[in-house]
Amino acid sequence: MAVTSPLLELRNLRKTFTAGPHAVAAVRDVSLTIHPGEIVGLVGESGSGKSTVANLVLGLERPDAGEIRYQGRPLAELLTGSGRAYRSAVQAVFQDPVQAMDSRKTVGWSIAEPLLIHRAARGAALRSRVAELLGAVHLDPSLADRYPHQISGGQAQRANIARALALEPSLLVCDEAVSALDVSVQAQIMNLFLEIQQRLSTAMLFISHALPVVRHLADSMVVMYAGAVVEQGPTEAVCEAPRHPYTRLLIGSSLPPDPERQPVRPPSARREALPTAGCRFAPRCVLATDRCRSDDPVLSEVGSEVGSAHAAACWRTDVPALAEPVRRR
């Protein structure tokens, strides 16, 4: 990425949830940066904390520690009062396209709602803006009069995207936005996200459990495990030269649609209870040493080029096997 001032910065974010006597650190010391117009992919499995990051960015949760800055200004400050400016600049697209819409309201109404709330348009201008937004997501303007149950899942997700674009946001937070879709529809919606990035220069925090989806869309990516960032960097670097054993396990577990190019899954130990100290991945890691079990690894640069921004949080990145590509049979 060119040297621009960041759009959004997350610095050492921490969020702990408590349920009775239990405290779970959902997000531990997460830092990441999104530049204007950049798609940052956030990948992780269930319990990794990726959706909590989304909720923190959307202002739906407040961090226990750390800070979020939008265009250099602290989010806590931006959200005082109505927080309207931030809430129009940062919009969300969620997983279930039909559930995300109000079943009693027409598609057109759902798209118009943010424009009304933010007093951005009314009357004839509102109607023409809704038609324009439907066009932007390649939906026929006649769909404005339909109800969510009368359209397909793919059409509903396009309508949700139209609604998210209504206030011309600078950032879309997409939380599993293509995960519930059939593969042919998923491809169309992924193409739409790329088109939005190119045409409108909208930045995205694209959260998904599906590594190939993130690889396809993201300019840079972040891999989370048990609340912490284990690897991050330019998408090509992370996918082609993964250095953290967990990233390597994810790649080796991703099954391509090709019977002749199946990955050989890297060895991993059985999943055990999550440790409360040291590397959280250590119980599943065949390379783990005593140090891994006692000390929290810190993110440090692993790229061959200095300043490549490719970093992994692993004490064993010097092990030669971690520099080899993940094998395929």
Partner: protein, 321 residues
Amino acid sequence: MSPILSVRGLTVCYPNADQPAVDDVGFDLAPGATIAVVGESGSGKSTVALALSRLLNPAVSIRADALTFEGHDLLGLPREALRRLRARRIAMIFQSPFGSWNPSRTIGAQLVDGLRAAGLWPERRQRLLELLKRVGIDDPERRLGDYPHRFSGGMLQRAMIAGALVTEPSLLIADEPTSALDATVQAEILEILDELRKEQNLALMLISHDLGVVARVAQHTLVLYRGRVVESGPTAALYRHAGHPYTQGLLAAVPRLEGPRKTPLPAMPQGTATIGGCVFASRCPRAEELCRTSAPPARRLNGTDVACHFAEDVRREPIWR
């Protein structure tokens, strides 16, 4: 080798539907072999699985020229005989780990129910414990006393597999068995399932929307679209030389970890059902008048059976790649 499962002309109609959910589906499954039925939502893939085990509502019409399992006619079998067959010879596992277990009874009690129904309790008790260990449940004797909410989704699916295989069935029907699980857990469970399948010479029918899982697991694949088999064949041939536009479109639409990125994925247009012609015609750039008026029969072509009037052209010049 004679097949353990033989299906010919399977057609399933839900009440008040104008099109059959499953239309003239046929295949053979040999002992120990694996077959996948792959398709998107609405393709009828789950209906095929439910029809085979006759788990559909009696109002649903199931017709077939043949539906034979180990010499039994599944459609004509009396309820009680069918129940015995399902308890011992045909096992099923489903997608939802939480929906498949009764939350108010322990895992152990529910697994014992299965063995009792098969008349194998307590003789298979030791085997059940062994299998639970094999699928990755440590200290099974203690864990059997747990209720389902104490298990993760992955652990419930592991227990489900152990329970399904302990009666030593000859056929396992698995409908999206790992789709709700994390990728790392999915890969591990598929490996364990494959090992056990080989050991027990179990035939597996996998129902899936996931072309990667199918590529990993199945020797033979059927591609289902709007209830019809548009292409079928050995998985390697089908993936390498897809002859049906829909198969090509599905394969091309999947994002991958290799190759180009940040470029538009080849995406099939949406379409509506065509009555009387090829089910895919309204979405197919290659479609001609013939496709809209006459349903193409399946033809053998370079190792796969393709139901497309223009399969030769489509294979020579793929529509989507």
